[in-house]
Symmetry: C2
Subunit: 335 residues, 2 copies
């Protein structure tokens, strides 16, 4: 299996991308194809004592910046690492593409160049969030900020297929993110979406709320990309704020500082449990090829885990399974 | 100053409502008017050694349940504690109304019975959230889940007036919650809203994202009630999840348990910093009278703080100040 990695994507590229690629090449039965500026990649690779044999380079001269306009940059920078990597995916020269670069550009390139799976109208970014009892998949967290109810139905079906096929969840539950639990809650848009998902054949539990996201009670929570993006970034912001405030509180006296020192392992363990790096990248579901979006601030471990998510998605034949789920459902609910 | 408290509202009413009323009556220069079933209130009051003189009761025979349909229950239960309390506000027999009951019912009763301030089209629920450096006001968190751009403009103006007049912030900054910082980000709805707020005269800093909510960098963040509700409940869910996971981690070994015991004061301090109970109730801005919504799970301290928010809002003449802000802005941007 070959997995292309955008070597130029992420806040600290190419350094951390390469660190992640090396870890993935050592730990996973895949060939990692680094896509980006060859000279820069070679230079960073030279700092490693031994370069794994299952690591190769495909040159791409341009780089799309983290803040560039997605659609325009993908159209203009044909030789960017994102475009070249996605082209490899399109030509089936690799089995998956992973990038910690400009999220919008990855979504645009994947959609425009590779295209969507049969029956899918819009791709959605699915993110696995840590919960008290188990992880929950939130879809969409920003690919599609003005969706139609049909798009949310398709997110429900694709998210369900992901949790079932890739994570091995048995009959995953699917909830619809709303402002109240009753079927009659929310906008007309939400009520229509509710009806579509209810009739789709997935294990639909109805409306859920923001306070259900981190309980682990549900396998999949479906939302529009605007609300999902707000929820995800709010959660990141709060986790950071709690971490800062906790450190400040722990420094308040010699006793609490001693306590913090003794409890060090517990804090490390907590960080591990809630760290996005442990959960890997976010699959862009619906694209006719496996495309994984990693966090821009990903370190080497997060990049490696994003490559692992790509590997698992290919190995468990995610896309054929999603197509089948959409096909079966469309026999129940004609689009 | 007289403040009516819905004695029957909240998950543990009337017990905690009464506990909060007693604390408020002792600590604040106000008369607290308990509204609800007189016999039940008297029974709970009897357990207190000394009943403050500045505490009175107005009987209301009915109770609106936490899960009842808001509009229908307000129409049907004319003698509910929410209706009776809001009627007192309407008739200017009290200066403010506070409830930890059914949020939708408080919004409906306040809007239908008391009406809105001149020039205001929709009320919005404003919640003060703890941040790393200072608190941020998020408006709207659920009163209006399908708003028009004009409503969001009015939330910006009302939120700014609240932070300026009640919290004493100098020239408060106002951000618009979106999925990216550039002016061109988001839906057409967001772009139109951006233009309106930019022209309004408030200290507009442009688009902000979910990750800006808990930094304390901004004074006011404006959003539609759907996204705001999701953000608020997601944050509550994550804070709870982190608390559970932290406790679990701290119990992992005798050393970490000892550390946790020594660091106890630090955890108490953190809890105090992020606890909603410290921040009091959420003002329903835009109503022609001060109406404060407390969290359903409020304890006595949270109820007392919600009454304090009501007291400060009346004392600082919030509503006349908001009307003036709307008037001045409408001279700049005709609605």
């Amino acid at each position: 299996m070959k997995i292309a990695l955008d070597a130029m994507g992420g806040d600290t590229a190419p350094e951390t991308a390469i660190a992640g690629a090396i870890r993935a090449a050592r730990e996973l039965p895949v060939e990692v194809v680094l896509v980006g500026q060859q000279a820069a990649i070679e230079q960073h690779l030279a700092s490693y004592a031994k370069r794994p044999a299952n690591l190769s380079i495909v040159h791409a001269a341009e780089v799309i910046g983290m803040d560039e306009s997605p659609v325009a940059s993908v159209r203009k920078k044909r030789d960017s690492s994102i475009n070249v990597g996605v082209e490899l995916l399109k030509e089936r020269k690799v089995d998956a593409f992973v990038s910690a670069g400009n999220t919008g550009a990855v979504v645009s390139a994947s959609t425009l160049l590779v295209g969507l799976l049969p029956g899918i109208e819009r791709p959605g970014i699915a993110t696995l969030l840590p919960g008290v009892t188990k992880d929950t998949l939130l879809i969409d967290v920003g690919a599609n900020i003005d969706p139609k109810p049909l798009h949310l139905l398709q997110y429900a079906l694709m998210g369900e297929a992901y949790m079932r096929c890739v994570l091995g969840r048995v009959r995953p539950t699917v909830g619809l993110l709303n402002v109240g639990e009753e079927e009659t809650k929310g906008t007309e848009f939400m009520k229509e979406t509710y009806g579509l998902i209810e009739a789709s054949g997935v294990n639909f539990v109805g409306n859920v709320e923001g306070h259900d996201i981190f309980t682990g009670e549900f396998d999949v929570i479906v939302c529009d990309g605007f609300a999902g993006n707000v929820a995800l970034k709010t959660a990141e912001s709060l986790a950071h704020a709690i971490s800062v405030l906790l450190k400040r509180s722990l420094a308040m006296s010699p006793i609490t500082r001693l306590g913090a020192w003794l409890a060090h392992d517990a804090f490390l363990n907590l960080r591990k449990e809630i760290d996005y790096a442990e959960h890997g990248g976010a699959p862009l579901l619906g694209v006719d090829g496996i495309s994984i979006i990693a966090h821009g601030a990903s370190g080497g471990k997060a990049i490696k885990n994003a490559i692992r998510v790509a590997y698992e998605s290919v190995r468990h034949e995610l896309n054929p399974n999603m197509v089948e789920a959409i096909r079966l459902s469309s026999q129940r609910v004609p689009p």
